[in-house]
Amino acid sequence: MKTDSNSKSNSCDTLFKVMKVIGNYKILLALSIILAGISVVLQLYVPILFGKAIDQIIAKGKVDFNAVSQYASQILVLILIASLATWFMNLINNRLTYRTVQDIRAKAIRQLQVLPLSYLDSHSNGDIVQRVIADVDQLSDGLLLGFTQLFSGIVTIAVTLIFMFSKNVLITAMIIVMTPLSFLVAKFIASRSFHMFKKQTETRGTQTALINELIGNEKIVKAFGYEKRASERFSTINEELRDYSQKAVFFSSLTNPSTRAVNNVIYALVALFGANRILSGALTVGDLTVLLSYANQYMKPFNDISSVITELQNALACAARVFELIEAEPQTPDAENALLPYRGLVDIENVDFSYVPEKPLIENFNFHAEPGMKIAIVGPTGCGKTTFINLLMRFYDVNRGSIKIDGQDINDVTRASLRQNFGMVLQETWLKNGTVRENIAFGKPDATDEEIIQAAKEAHSWEFIRRMPHKLDTVLTDDSLSQGQKQLLCITRVMLCDPSMLILDEATSSIDTRTEALIQKAFDKLMKGRTSFVVAHRLSTIRDADQILVMKDGHIIEQGDHDSLLQKNGFYAELYRSQFAPST
């Protein structure tokens, strides 16, 4: 009970927020509701006029043409007004939904730029994309349209009832009594088919997983001659799915005919009682026509409302997810000062850091780098190497202690000014959809072609760019480049920016050894006189580092240059030797 009221107040909360978002469009929303009301009332009144007209057409020689014409012109005016009202309402609804969607999305994308990485890292990309795209759509469709639909549904029912009562109380009462029957039938079928649907969904899920697994790794299936066994496994689940699907499809398709049957029974009853009333003079044929056409339409708004309510609930859930994103706490606000011109002196003092409070990762980390030093970070996976980069770039903030560049705490300067001073190449290459030029000039959009080509030559990416069909104007698609080429482009991107400090995260791990050697030369040139941090797996690439930090479990366990570390004969020496031991 308590959770119930809680969720209710949450829903109200969300609804309130939605109302705030549509702020500018409140007038449109009001107009939409008014127009919906007009169109519903008119559309319901038209059958009454038709009924009255029919009452003027009684039998041979008993037709009042004047009255019929009069009703006809009244009807014409009403349907024109109703049509126009519906049309305007549709146009307004369009504007209302699409503009609100755009507004909410604009908020969301701005929010994405200021969310802390801890939020983005702990939510899957798919989840966030779904919130920005699908959930926002659902929100506008479900909430705004749902709202007008709900409104016109209620108006329809109310007005229909009033009109029907005005025609005949008894018949109307009978229709109202019969109404729940239709719901009961629908509900009975729904509960029966729900079970089958659940089974169907489960089985389909298992089947999809199997498809993903086997077709997704078809080459392994081939390598082990597993095709027959795969086919048998698939067949078992496929037949199971057939069974459930058949029943689910069948049961769910019963709802419409069943409610239609109930409707037909109501229709027959109206005809029966109507005829009885006409015989006793309490009703006209035209009235019966009206009642019959109402009886036919009467159920529709009920069905609509029940589906609208489901949709509204759904939309509220989506809205809650959207607002959860939009209202998530942004990163700590930027300090006002920019990082002053600096020499590249980096001090890390007593730093503690962890992604989750229960699992301390980096503890009491201290380090000092002189300007122009090349610092290498090595260690087994999960030892905190990449965390180091997260902290230096302020993707994450330290829990305790401080990182200082030329004596300025990086928390006291703007993130932009800090990051502009770093050139970063990550292990996971990321290129945007666009041309080669756009990608290389990512950090320096006003670069000339000469500068771009120069950088590409230095990073040895020019060799393959040169061979591409449109050179710098080639549009990159997902698989137009090999992993190595992608990394070369990422390196070129940094090369062009000519940053003051470098962060290289295993940047050369999937470039073949020969190219790597060339890149290494280019990097050496770039690193000259600049403080650089290199995270590497292959010890060969960092042998000439001024300082090697050997990390394990968040601590620096050894520190020194290559030769001194080898002499020390510790963890580093062990790592190093195992790389070059022969197998026999």
Partner: protein, 585 residues
């Protein structure tokens, strides 16, 4: 549609019965207004309430019959549509199993998965809807018109005029919106792509301080999407009001014409009520039909895509019987082999020739894209050489019957993938009949014993999908064990120790070298240390053999090898220079 129709052929009975019963149900709907007309014309005019009660029970009977017919129709439709989908899915799955790697590369995994899942589901939906509804709506529309003609010719002419007009309006609006909808979809996809890109690249975007630009790009696309949506919306906003106005204007004409007909005694008042009711039925059905056509169109497009996959012929053929049981002491031989991947103009490997004796260990080294994996992929005939010949055990790989060659080869692919099930299930991929002892032995060699022993349920430990509950290094060891379980004559390790630390990698190579029997081993690697001890090392450079021989030979003669080796172990170069100097001195 030909292929999907073939599947419907297995459900002939259902495909005929379902629409037939549906039509019978609609017939009940069409009779209803006539009964109401009879109530008015006879029952009311003659004040005959018994007749009215008879009519009432007739209406109830119609409703009951309609319900029965409709249930029957739905049952047959469900049976046929689900049946077609089930068989289509199985055929598609089996077809994919029969394709060779080149076709799989060309089609792409994602495509295949979509075809198997959502496309087949759409086909099922389409078949179901078609069977149930495609005939019903036109039947009611034309049925209503025909019924109108049986009542009164002049009034029915109004039906004959309004039906085409309404059709033109409904289908006109629909046909104009369909292409626009796909434009909306692609705008939406673009926006989705930008959002995703922004998220995957968040570190780079922030590192380069490009937040503002990201927002601008998003806003631009968002605005374009809204414009497109509003444009389509304006068009579809017309549908409801236009059809509503038209059908009611037609009804006005009907009433006026009806008034004249009743006045001269051509028809009775009840007939006019019946005509009025038929008019109301038309519009509902026309709109239903319009949305049905959209569904069917979608299903047809999906069916087409499924058929395109079914139309791809397996690119490899196998002989029915093995030629001769030859026995050669050469295990693998390449004779002037060149190969290019489907859709690529350039050779992945060019003119490769080498031969390997039984029991030898061969290292293959070279940069990315140098063709290392391609060479080993030709041994178990994942691909056929574009030119030249690949021989295993002295016999051209093309002369092996289906499945007989693959039995002799254990492949450990670059990407370590495990499948959902237990560890044992995964190991049995290698050999269905392997005993637990076989499995433990293989694990021992692959340095995977400790991995399995560390699990609570040992061999019965669950492996979740894709092996997510195992680390990269653990997965690699298990996939190596999986290949060893089949006790292959040829073992191919395609850069499959990359996630192992150097010490484990070393132990692994030693264990494999120490195995009994006469297994030929291919080790593909970027690490010189991994191939250093091989009996023969093939050095590949840009798809060609840049050198082959032992480590020492290559170090003397092969420039590419020297470059690779010394870049990974520079002090060796120092030592060597020192040695040379000493020798010179």
């Amino acid at each position: 549609m030909k292929t999907v129709l073939t599947f419907l052929r297995n459900y002939k009975k259902e495909s005929i019965l379902s629409p037939t019963f549906k039509l019978m149900e609609s017939l009940m709907d069409l009779i209803t207004p006539l009964v109401v007309a009879a109530i008015i014309n006879k029952g009311i005019v003659n004040a005959d309430f018994t007749y009215v009660i008879q009519c009432f029970f007739f209406l109830i009977l119609l409703a009951a019959l309609g319900l029965g017919f409709s249930f029957t129709a739905q049952w047959f439709a469900a049976k046929a549509s689900v049946g077609v989908a089930t068989e289509l899915r199985q055929t598609l799955f089996d077809h994919i199993q029969s394709l060779s790697c080149s076709e799989l590369d060309t089609l792409g995994t994602d495509t295949l998965i979509t075809r198997m899942t959502s496309d087949v589901n759409q086909v099922q939906n389409g078949v179901n809807m078609t069977l149930r509804l495609l005939l019903r709506s036109p039947f009611i529309v034309f049925g209503a018109m025909i019924m109108a003609f049986t009542i009164d010719f002049r009034c029915a002419l109004i039906f004959a005029v309004i039906i085409p007009i309404l059709s033109v309006v409904v289908y006109g609006i629909m046909l104009m919106s369909i292409p626009l909808f796909s434009k909306v979809q692609s705008s939406l996809d673009a926006l989705l792509g930008t959002t995703r890109e922004n998220l995957t690249g968040v570190r780079v975007v922030r590192a380069f301080c490009k937040e503002k630009e990201s927002i601008d790009e998003f806003d631009r696309q968002s605005e374009a999407l809204t414009k497109m949506n509003e444009f389509v919306g304006r068009l579809s906003a017309l549908m409801n009001p236009a059809t509503y106005a038209l059908i009611n204007i037609a009804t006005i004409f009907l009433i006026r014409e009806g008034a004249i007909r009743v006045n001269i005694g051509g028809i009775a008042q009840g007939d006019l009520v019946a005509l009025y009711n038929y008019m109301a039925q038309i519009i509902v059905e026309l709109i239903k039909l319009a949305s049905l056509i959209i569904t069917i169109n979608k299903a047809l497009a999906c069916a087409k895509r499924v058929e395109n996959v079914l139309d791809v012929k397996p690119g490899m053929t196998y002989p029915d019987s093995i030629l001769t049981e030859s026995d050669s002491d050469i295990e693998v031989e390449f004779r002037n082999v060149s190969f290019s991947y489907a859709g690529s103009d350039e050779d992945a490997i060019t003119d490769i020739s080498f031969s390997v004796k039984k029991g030898q260990t061969v290292g293959i080294i070279g940069g990315t894209g140098s063709g290392k994996s391609t060479v080993v992929n030709l041994i178990p005939r994942f691909y056929d050489a574009t030119s030249g010949q690949v021989l295993v055990n002295g016999q051209d790989v093309k002369t092996y019957t289906e499945g007989s060659l693959i039995k002799q080869v254990g492949v450990v692919p670059q990407k370590a993938v495990l499948f959902e099930g237990t560890i044992r299930d995964n190991m049995l991929w290698g050999n269905e009949d392997a005993t637990d002892e076989d499995i433990w032995n293989a694990l021992e060699t692959a340095q995977g014993r400790e991995v399995v022993e560390g699990k609570d349920n040992k061999l019965d430990e669950r492996v979740s999908q894709g092996g997510r509950n195992f680390s990269g290094g653990q997965k690699q060891r298990l996939t190596i064990a999986r290949a060893l379980v089949r006790k292959p004559e040829i073992l191919i390790l395609d850069d499959s120790a990359s996630a192992l630390d150097f010490a484990t990698d070393l132990k692994l190579r030693r264990a494999i070298a120490g195995l009994d029997g006469n297994m030929t081993v291919f080790i593909v690697s970027q690490r010189a240390s991994s191939v250093r001890a091989a009996d023969m090392i093939l050095v590949l450079d840009d798809g060609k053999i840049a050198g082959h021989g032992t480590h020492d030979e290559l170090l003397e003669s092969c420039e590419v090898y020297q470059e690779i080796y010394y870049s990974q172990a520079p002090e060796e170069r120092k030592n060597k220079t020192v040695n040379r100097k000493e020798a010179l001195a």
